[in-house]
Amino acid sequence: RDSPIDLYCYCGNSALHNKITSESLYRELWSIKVVDICPNLNVVFFCFAGVNCNSVEKKIYVNLNYTIPCVRLLNATHQIGCQSSLSGDVGVLHVLESEENLDWVLSSGQTPPYMVILESALFTRYSDLKQSIMMKLKEGSSRVAGVVVVAPSTNPPEGFSPHHACPNENSGVYSDSYDPALAHCNATLWNPLGSGLSYEEFDFPIFSLKEDNDTQVIRQCYQEHNRGGNGSNPQYPLCAMQLFSHMSAVTDTATCMRRNDINFSLSPEMVCDPLGDYNVWAATRPLNTTTKGHKMFESVVIAAARLDSRSFFFDVAPGAESAATGFIALLAAAHALRNVTQAAQPNRTILYTFFQGETFDYIGSSRMVYEMMNNQSVVDLDNIHSVLEVGQVGLRPDSKLWLHSDPVSRRNDSVNQELVENLRLAAGTTGVLVDEPSTSQPLPPSSFQRFLRARPIPGVVIENHDSRFSNRYYESMFDNAEYLNVTYPPNLTPEEQFEQPLEIAKALTEVATTVARALYVQAGGSESQLDSINADPQIVSQMLYGFLVRSNNSWFQQVVPSELASHLGESQSSEPTLLVQYLLANLTGSVVNVTQEDCQKQREHEKDEDSNYMWVQGAANGTVRESFCVRSTVHLSKALSPAFDLREYTSQDYSTWTESRWKSIKGRIFLVASPDLEKLTLGVGVGVLLASLFLTYIISSKADILFSSGREPATATY
């Protein structure tokens, strides 16, 4: 494939990215290959006897179709997540119906270890992590073989966040040297619902299952075999489950990166990969990408948002409020500014940046700042005029937008109030209520903190909360479309849903318009133009649908190239980088009339090398698509923590998160016989073997007596 990032596999934790997902895709293919060998062996062994080959395994095991594991991540000092043993962990099924039932698993049950099936309410309902069922299971892990969480169909009303209460505590700007009083969320605890469950280490596998046929089979198997009558102990055979999620990496990032490099063994194997992906950026004016470092007479206003989120489980990271509201608002703002920045160009350039991996200690933004400091980026820190970051901006009725800024910068008077004034001015024209939090409050967790860490740059972070997050499901699987009320009447077809205007989109459109107008004034544009800057509510609705509900829709299909189109799915894409890249190109760029060949060679004019040309598949016209070429200033830049380039795996300054590799993730259920029966079977087998050896020995030593018949010995003929 020719694109620099050639990964359209939507199976990553959304913070994890092309490289890693391509690895897991590879792993999947690899494991399929291995699995394929086994039936062939069965053919060899059983077909002589006329037995149907695959059915032996099928008769014993029921494989689970839809399994989502919790996987291992590592940083400079810790490993978090879950793992099974190499050959999978086996336990007797126990469906936990209430918390009192836990006793059976942890002490009174006669047949440990147990595979605990947890209704999601039991997974999410706790006020204190130490009192939670998950932690009790962790402490009693000698009797626990694994846990399966049945994903709910509705969000828990009391809120749930498995993330830290103080996200990115040690990688933001507030530290013991910047302002100790504000460090470690001393002033404001941003995510008080955050329990830190995602950052615990479990030494048994934890899987999530959707409520479907699989869970029906599990419940039925449990009811039939594992429930003894009247509280008595159930009789063998019992229903058991085996979960495979063995992780290759251990201890910490330094250890696993070192083991990646050791390759004098017979089969060198990678054990972990750094978390990383790409940031997406675009400018309102083409910036010369061939010369790096400081650009004379260039002043840029950065408009930032983040693309990633996570949850306890791999591959589940809806991030509707925590990420999608922000980047959708910024995309809509960029679209609103397209015409006016071309017609009446302001003196400063607006640089739209979408950061990846911010959940894991600001991977994307720290990389961009690092490149700006080391003259590897198109601009440097001196070129930055100010930063406007769009955070979580999903507005509820009668809620305000809050303009957060840094109290330290304000104290030092290095920040003028210009950006806040412009935002207030813009909000005045759109009718959005804006306010500022108390002057002593620090910035919420935001990419802008990484810029401040390098230099006191003026900047504002827009959020929908005053102090603590209003998001009750921060970095959890419940921060989804349902939470944002992106829901549709049940009788609509996908295309009708796509066209359906949404209530939340109205509020988000107003935010986008406010952001766009503030950016325009901030960039030096004239206030008289403001009325012509308007975000399009239909586009916002469609983006909400495309990013949160179903990525396979007519609009997304038009604006992406054909390779990517085949990866658009029926559900939310957990890999938004490329979609945002193509949407941004479509929303800010222009269609040029060139052939596919010229488009791919990226030259309409020889000198124009700062624009990016993309050949996208266009609208369907019957069976043919009317493909076209889009010219834009959209580029990708690496979002890989500088710690991995510097090989500082115990870095205090940069993210050191890595993800372990694995070979197979699967689960299956089957019936186990009692240990006594197992021992008896083995004993009889060994007995038969010994008896036959003994018999053979006797017969061969007495052969001349036993087989001395009247006829000539056979050897005589040779």
Binding site: S248, V250, T255, R258, I262
Partner: protein, 101 residues
């Protein structure tokens, strides 16, 4: 090769070759020597070369024991402390089992 069919002088020269070869850090030669010539050295009726063979077999056995002792100690220490040694432990390893510290 059947020792029974060899003349006594050749037995001695063979035994010496194995004994000397073992000094090239090849304790398995000593093991073979001990196993192979044990009968010759201690069970057979006396003959002239037997005394010399006895010495070689004894010394081979001693060397072998030394090797076994040294290797067992090292392997025990290594297996026990590999994870603790961290970097050094990894570089001393030929294969590192996946998913273990």
């Amino acid at each position: 090769m059947n020792l029974e069919r060899l003349p006594n002088e050749e037995k001695l020269s063979l035994c010496r070759k194995y004994y000397l070869g073992g000094f090239a850090f090849l304790p398995f030669l000593w093991l073979v020597n001990v196993v192979w010539f044990f009968r010759e050295a201690f069970m057979k009726p006396a003959y002239t070369e037997q005394l010399q063979i006895k010495t070689y077999v004894k010394r081979s056995a001693l060397g072998l024991l030394l090797w076994v002792a040294v290797l067992t100690t090292w392997i025990t220490i290594f297996q026990h402390f590999r994870a603790e040694w961290g970097e050094v432990g990894d570089y001393l390893s030929f294969t590192i089992p996946l998913g273990t510290p």
